[in-house]
């Protein structure tokens, strides 16, 4: 399979969030601000790409019976790096993201890609697959984050775009809106790209 093919498949055609319904937890939790979504997305891309690479390197030496444990440990080590990095350089965002950085470990996308792709393919291809899946995930986060921040705070990346006349929709900051927006996004994509009937 060509690299471009792998990338497009994991980023869009088989996108983890809208197609496979994986990694919903963090997609809903961190999207109240776009900045948080972006940092979270970058963290996921980093851990996905490198854990895919490492797991693929180890795939011929990992006994099948303990492979889940090995995969989890590899993923956990990269997530710890992300967490330490954020704590050191972006303490404010690290505080806002709270436990959700650590929860990248149990994010089903990482285990899913490790199991479905990295444990059967070459290291470099697995890395491309990881970057693709991570970008697809980041894209969804940014779309949800854009809607929630625009209507909830009248701003984008913390910069006010809607004037003083704008009344913030407080529901957009609260939990329910995340569920509604994700549902509508999935609906829209199903109708538009997978030819489901309205």
């Amino acid at each position: 399979m060509k690299l471009k093919e792998i990338f497009v498949t994991s980023a869009f055609r088989e996108n983890s969030v809208w197609r496979q319904i994986l990694g919903i937890c963090s997609a809903l939790a961190v999207t109240n601000l776009m900045m948080n979504s972006l940092i979270m997305g970058l963290g996921v891309i980093f851990s996905l790409a490198l854990s895919g690479f490492t797991i693929s390197l180890l795939r011929n030496w990992t006994p099948r019976s303990v492979r889940m444990m090995v995969q989890t440990l590899v993923i956990a080590s990269y997530v710890i790096m992300v967490d330490i990095f954020l704590k050191a350089y972006l303490p404010d965002i690290s505080k806002q993201l709270g436990p959700y950085v650590g929860l990248i470990i149990t994010n089903c996308i990482l285990m899913g890609r490790a199991e479905a792709f990295a444990s059967q393919n070459k290291p470099f291809e697995s890395m491309i697959d990881g970057i693709g899946a991570g970008l697809g995930y980041t894209l969804v986060l940014l779309v949800i984050g854009f809607i929630r921040e625009l209507f909830g705070f009248g701003s984008i990346f913390g910069i006010k775009v809607l004037g003083a006349w704008w009344t913030n929709w407080s529901i957009m900051v609260m939990a329910p809106s995340a569920f509604f927006i994700l549902a509508l996004l999935i609906w829209f994509i199903n109708v538009k790209y997978y030819k489901a009937k309205v």
Partner: protein, 195 residues
């Protein structure tokens, strides 16, 4: 934190429900909620494992990680504790209560990757709970999760005979129902604050 464990227990169920306000444990929540019976089984298993692992991880964190100054390893250690406990539980149930094993056993491997379990342990560290508070928070969160998945399963059973747009079937409609449930739970939020 100076909230009593009792208050924390109720707060974890209603005002800061682990699923409806913190979005944890969504994967198994969406995939298992097709049947009421299996939802109940998984919910009970989650509740039990949550309560025990919150206690275990509190002990490990405060008596192993902090004294030896290896707090940065907390993610790996918590995951291992959870996985080991679930494995152990599976063996015990299989050996002594085979009847329970056939109803609950299939859900146990699912629990290791349920982010609610891991999330509660992380919240416990971040919010600096005491031992008793951790247990109360774990039990309350588990009960809250059970409540949420049971409600969704019950609604989805009714939904089977209804016409839903094809693009929205399955996950889409479940998310919308969950959103409405979350909206209802926002109504509790004035009672107590635990953030």
């Amino acid at each position: 934190m100076d909230i009593s464990a009792f208050v924390l227990f109720w707060a974890a169920i209603f005002t800061s429900n682990i699923l409806l306000t913190n979005f944890l444990g969504m994967c198994s929540y969406l995939s298992v909620s097709r049947e009421v019976e299996s939802s109940f089984g998984l919910g009970i298993a989650v509740m039990f494992v949550l309560t025990v692992t919150a206690a275990l991880n509190w002990l490990v964190y405060n008596y192993v990680l902090v004294p030896f100054n290896i707090v940065y390893l907390q993610f790996i250690v918590f995951i291992i504790v959870i996985a080991a406990f679930v494995q152990f539980l599976e063996l015990v149930i299989e050996r002594y209560v085979p009847a329970l094993y056939y109803t609950l056993g299939i859900f146990l491997p699912l629990i290791t990757v349920n982010c609610a379990i891991f999330g509660v342990s992380l919240f416990m560290v971040i919010r600096d709970y005491s031992f008793l508070q951790s247990i109360a928070f774990g039990a309350g969160s588990g009960l809250g999760w059970l409540l949420a998945i049971l409600m969704l399963a019950a609604i989805r059973r009714k939904l089977k005979e209804k016409l839903v747009p094809t693009g929205l079937q399955g996950v889409g409609i479940s998310l919308i129902i969950t959103g409405i449930m979350a909206l209802a739970f926002v109504g509790f939020s004035g009672i107590v604050q635990i953030q």
